[in-house]
Symmetry: C2
Subunit: 111 residues, 2 copies
DNA sequence: TTGACATATTCCTATATAGGAATATTTTTA
DNA sequence: TAAAAATATTCCTATATAGGAATATGTCAA
């Protein structure tokens, strides 16, 4: 079996760095395809293909305005990702605390 | 060009659902491979291969104990994912607020 | 040393890309 | 109606899986 499709869920869709770049850019505001093309410095067909994947998993929404297609982020679709990572927050905070404790112990060694 | 390697970063590594399952399981405590095999109901070679990918991106750490290999989560490696998703938190909260407002408006329509 | 136990690796294959190039589609304007 | 502008789609190809099957490696116990 091959890898799961990029369109199977948000996790697979955002695995591609260029798609995260696009989402980051769209986080600021709604944008047309050509604005994305200019900002990302990617080929237009490539942008369109990435947008199709993002749309396939609901990460972006589109509306037409004249001959332009305006894309915007659907942040709700990122929530499952955020929530999954949050399950580990307690763990890394604990880890950070231990690192800090060790640092303090070596900064002020017992006299 | 093909898709980026699963070992290229944490984003690609956790795109695979079985690997998220394994991380979820390891979040509770350190486990041996056979414990993971039993809990996940996967073939042992499959588990070993997934663990190799997770280790490759630093999402898990291993130590040997006799003939067992004990794996545990390295939560710090999940942080970048959490932080990336957090960039969109403001957006979905805003979205939720608007949904709530609309619901209230239709619950109590103007008389 | 031999066998059992635990884990890792190799080989095989169907599948799904991502990018480049070329082209199609849709909409507006002259 | 034709040309231009904006975007989407198709075709092509190298590449990297994920799982199944078989096997290799490493470690302990008798």
């Amino acid at each position: 079996m091959a890898r799961a499709a990029t369109t199977s869920d948000a996790f697979n869709a955002v695995a591609e760095p260029r798609r995260r770049d696009i989402l980051n850019y769209l986080a600021m505001q709604e944008r047309s395809v050509s604005e994305i093309v200019d900002a990302m410095e990617m080929e237009q067909p490539s942008v369109s293909k990435h947008l199709k994947v993002l749309k396939g998993v609901g990460l972006v929404e589109v509306r037409r305005e004249g001959r332009q297609m305006l894309y915007k982020v659907n942040a709700m679709a990122i929530r499952p990702l955020h929530e999954w990572t949050s399950r580990f927050e307690r763990l890394w905070k604990h880890q950070l605390l231990r690192i800090k404790e060790r640092a303090e112990a070596s900064d002020a060694p017992k006299q």
